[in-house]
């Protein structure tokens, strides 16, 4: 089996994978980074969103081998010790999560939104989140959390 190497959450990692192994499976199975979740098999749900070279991407849409040499950031690499990232903090403060399963993908996706658009309107947030499904919150508090994080991160 071929070997793949990349940087994940600041650490150099490598592992043997099959050609068909997805990045999401590599993170979960080889690296035991199980915060990246798998909620579907058609790249719709967004629970597996991570950052690859700074951009949010559904990690089930990438073969592990395609991430050779890449910088990958997962939900586990976001907080600084026990200090949550402002987006994580805003999700907690505004009850932007219930069962927690879609949450890692939501948070990673929302951070990328603010990178592109530091002051998004409610419509822009809802539009961006089309690729992330949540079955618990009705998105109401997710939108609120992202608005609050945007304000916090601008100030």
């Amino acid at each position: 089996m071929p070997t793949v190497s990349m940087t994940v959450n600041g650490k150099q990692v490598s592992g043997e994978v099959e050609g068909r192994t997805l990045l999401s499976d590599f993170l979960r199975e080889n690296l035991n980074l199980t915060g990246t979740h798998i909620g579907c098999d058609t790249s719709q749900c967004g629970a597996c969103v991570v950052h690859v070279n700074g951009d949010s991407i559904k990690s089930c849409t990438l073969l592990a081998l395609q991430a050779e040499g890449a910088e990958v950031l997962t939900i586990e690499g976001l907080a600084n010790g026990t200090n949550l990232h402002p987006m994580q903090q805003a999700f907690k403060e505004h009850h932007g999560l219930q069962c927690g399963f879609c949450t890692p993908g939501m948070v990673m996706s929302a951070i990328d939104l603010l990178k592109h658009n530091p002051d998004p309107s409610e419509d822009e947030i809802r539009d961006w989140l089309q690729g992330n499904m949540c079955r618990c919150t009705g998105y109401h508090n997710i939108v609120k959390a992202i608005q609050a994080a945007a304000q916090d991160m601008r100030s």
Binding site: E18, R20, R28, L33, T34, G35, T36, H37, I38, G39, C40, D41, T42, Q44, C45, A47, T74, I75, E76, L78, A79, L84, Q88, F91, K92, E93, H95, L97, Q98, C99, G100, F101, C102, T103, P104, V107, E122, D123, I125, R126, D127, L129, Q130, N132, M133, C134, R135, C136, T137, G138, Y139, H140, N141, I142, V143, K144
Partner: protein, 788 residues
């Protein structure tokens, strides 16, 4: 108010782990020596199993074992049971054909389980599953409930595919009232099949330990003890004390994770056969095919009224789709959780319901968020709306006129329930104010100027939840008691561990229950840990569904806390050299009444575990268990109002405003309760506008079998919601609480459809009201104008 007591929007304890990727869901767990299971599923809706050839799969690389229904039959494995016996009109029990974990002789829906392939890796199991050769004898199939009784028979012991023909209420009195009515509003409607779609797919690991001859099952379950009971007592014939079920973090359930399914049954059974752990995780396609679905009713309803619009009778005839087999609680959903709610918030004097439950070649149907109550609410609030339009009455005022008045409680409905308390007019008034009803016509005119159609829709719902008084449900056919348990254990150093039979899969129990215990015992919120989801550590519990966790599970916690305080008083009396009768407990301190002599509860707990100077006859330790069996259901109720704006050129519908005013009794954590309302509304809007589980009527294939085809509500399909509350306290549980988990999903669908039909000027539109349907209706309305 402290920010962690009752009534505070305390931020959740569980969030830290979920936000940092440290949650532990079933698929995150791996066991030493683990193997992977992949199921071979039927591609046909209805077929005989002539031959299942596993030889090629067995010799494939990495394969450990392949099992079929025959292997389980030879091993004496039983049928997945239905736990609720419904007695039909003639006094006979429902038809309950066997439901084997792996099919024997016949498959009855696309996705039915034919064989399991177990291999060293998931990829090897997947590859080998394709090598299982099945010789099917294809038979004609039927997926439509309305045609089921004339369709090819699925089960030998269920003629006409009829599970039961059941009734409730006084049919004669209803027919007489209808014959004398000033007006009868009539409606034929479909309550569309839904697929629950918790974002975490189901998963299970079965593990057998030869040394202790015992099993551990890790499972995405809402009720680990119930799963254990079903597997042990009915299916696998295992000793209950040798089976431990762990439901760790679970990513949403909405009902679909109540049931004992084929997959965890097979993993558990196979783990002993191969003496290695067996893991299975559903792919989403499997979730669509084989999770229990919801709703799927076809109904005719008639509402009779006098000339003033007072309701005089309601008659309902429903055909309910059970799917191919009975899921664990399938039978009670379209009966005791449906027809019993047909009074709604109204004082309709006589009601009759007839329900025919039928088998079809589709996935089993069981409870999905609301379970029976959304179906009842939808037909009732739709026919009330039709009545208002036909009688040319204001829909809000027609409802108000028929509400059960606040002084009529406790109120016996004609369909077997006793509502303990409520104030429906208060919720309506608040909702009308919040949505600014009096200026609706101006908003409608403003929309018209922009070429848009605006409509407003009401839904005045009630639900029976906090499931349920054991004696009552037992008399109605339930095979289980529906109490809940709690154990409150003081640790010697003053912290508290609370063990609850309720299970949290998004509801935030670790926070709400800690707030309850903190307030009751006066212990810091941070010093309280809620333990749930592991039969190895919690007392026997019944789990979470039917909006029962706080009303039933929370009441059990309260009772256990009360026992702790009672015992603490005896210990404190000894420490303070006072009579027990003189000891008061308040805010974490035992005090001699009228003095400043006191001992903190932590000091008392320490004395209980280090009983060197201790009252005679009192046991050491401060660790109390309580079971709570509710005296009645709780009856949350409220009014939701939806305002929509439709673009007649595209059929696009925008939810312009949403107001929810709910009465949940006492609220422990408003932030969490509002979150439950938001999520419920989203699922209800999903049903009304987007979601529909569709099987092809010819082939029986599930057409909506992926997120590419089944339209889940996305962020841009929904608005922000305005949530208000009224409060009448539940009269029969110690907390005065009701239940909030299902309310939104129950209330929302008729509010949406009433608004859309109001905007379009049509009487009815079946769900989901897709853009196509709306566009067609809008075009039809236009045609007379075009001809002019």
């Amino acid at each position: 108010m402290p920010d962690t007591g009752i009534g505070a929007s305390t931020r959740r304890k569980e969030d830290q782990r979920f936000l940092t990727g440290k949650g532990r869901y079933t698929d995150d767990l791996n066991r030493p020596g683990q193997t992977y299971a992949v199921f071979v599923r039927s591609p046909h809706a209805h077929a005989g199993l002539k031959n299942v050839d596993t030889s090629a799969a067995e010799s494939a690389e990495g394969v450990v074992a392949v099992f079929t229904g025959k292997d389980m039959e030879d091993d004496g494995v039983g049928s997945l049971p239905c736990g609720w016996t419904v007695v039909d009109k003639e006094g006979n029990p429902h038809k309950g054909p066997p439901h084997f974990p792996l099919a024997r002789y016949k498959v009855r829906y696309v996705g039915d389980h034919v064989a399991v392939v177990i291999a060293e890796t998931l990829e090897q199991a997947r590859d080998a599953a394709e090598l299982v050769e099945v010789d099917y004898d294809e038979q004609p199939a039927n997926v439509e409930p309305a045609k089921a009784m004339d369709a090819p028979q699925l089960h030998d012991d269920a003629p006409n595919n009829l599970c039961y023909d059941w009734e409730l209420g006084d049919g004669g009195a209803v027919d007489e009232a209808i014959s004398k009515a000033h007006h009868v509003a009539k409606l034929d409607l479909v309550n569309n099949r839904l697929i629950p779609n918790a974002i975490e797919p189901r998963a299970a690991i079965g593990e057998y330990d030869e040394g202790t001859d015992s099993y551990t099952i890790y499972s995405t379950s809402q009720n680990p003890h119930l799963l254990r009971l079903i597997l042990c007592a009915f299916v696998l014939n295992l000793p209950e004390h040798k089976v431990r079920v762990i439901a760790p973090d679970v990513g949403g359930g909405f009902g679909s994770k109540i049931y004992a399914y084929a997959e965890e049954t097979v993993c558990t059974w196979a783990s002993k056969r191969i003496n290695r752990p067996v893991k299975w995780t559903a792919e989403r396609a499997e979730s669509f095919l084989a999770d229990a679905h919801g709703r799927d009713h076809v109904t005719h309803v008639e509402l009779a009224m006098d000339e003033d619009g007072n309701f005089t009778a309601l008659k309902v005839q429903t055909t309910a789709n059970m799917g191919a087999y009975l899921s664990n609680f399938a039978t009670c959903i379209p009966t005791y959780l449906y027809a019993t709610l047909l009074a709604g918030q109204y004082k309709t004097p006589v009601i009759y319901a007839n329900v025919k439950a039928v088998f079809t070649n589709t996935a089993p149907v069981d409870a999905y968020r609301g379970a029976g109550r959304p179906e009842a609410t939808f037909l009732l609030e739709r026919v009330v709306e039709v009545a208002a339009r036909e009688m040319d009455m204001d829909p809000a005022e027609l409802r108000r006129r028929n509400f059960i008045p606040p002084d009529a409680f406790p109120y016996d409905t004609p369909v077997a329930l006793t509502y303990d308390t409520g104030n429906y007019e208060a919720a309506l008034d608040e909702a009308l104010k919040m949505i600014d009803y009096q200026n609706f016509s101006e908003r409608k005119a403003e929309s018209e100027k922009r070429g848009k159609l605006r409509g407003i829709g009401f839904s005045a719902y009630i639900e029976a939840c906090g499931i349920a008084p054991s004696a009552v449900v037992g008399a109605l056919g339930a095979g289980v008691g529906l109490w809940e348990s709690a154990q409150v254990r003081f640790n010697a150093t003053g912290s508290v561990s609370v063990f609850t039979g309720s299970h949290s899969h998004g509801q935030g129990h670790e926070t709400t229950f800690a707030q309850l215990v903190s307030e009751t015992l006066g212990v810091p919120y941070e010093s309280i840990n809620i333990v749930h989801g592991d039969t190895g550590s919690i007392p026997m519990g019944m789990g979470t569904y039917g909006s029962r966790s706080l009303a039933v599970g929370g009441s059990a916690i309260q009772k256990a806390c009360d026992k702790v305080i009672d015992k603490g008083k005896k210990i404190a009396a000894h420490m303070l050299e006072a009579s027990v009768d003189d000891i008061e407990f308040d805010k974490g301190a035992f005090r001699v009444a009228g003095t400043d002599k006191e001992k903190s509860i932590a000091e008392v707990a320490f004395a209980a575990y280090v009983p060197h100077d201790y009252p005679e006859g009192v046991e050491p330790g401060l660790d109390e268990t309580a079971f709570y069996d509710p005296a009645n259901f709780t009856y949350p109720a409220g009014v939701h109002i939806c305002e929509v704006e439709i673009d007649p050129d595209t059929g696009e519908v925008e939810i312009a405003d949403w107001v929810a005013v709910d009465d949940f009794g006492r609220v422990i954590n408003p932030m969490i309760v509002e979150g439950q309302v938001h999520g419920g509304i989203a699922q209800g809007v999903g049903q009304a506008l987007l979601e529909h589980g569709i099987y092809d009527p010819e082939s029986g294939q599930l057409i909506t079998g992926s997120y590419m085809d089944y339209t889940m509500p996305r962020a841009d399909d929904l608005p922000s919601f305005k949530v208000g509350m009224t409060e009448t306290l539940c009269t029969h549980n110690p907390l005065g609480v009701k239940g909030c988990g299902e309310a939104g999903a129950i209330a929302a669908p008729p509010a949406v459809i009433n608004a859309i039909t109001d905007a379009l000027g049509v009487m009815h539109m079946d769900m989901p009201a897709t853009r196509e349907k709306i566009w067609r209706a809008a075009q039809q309305n236009r045609q007379p104008q075009a001809a002019e």
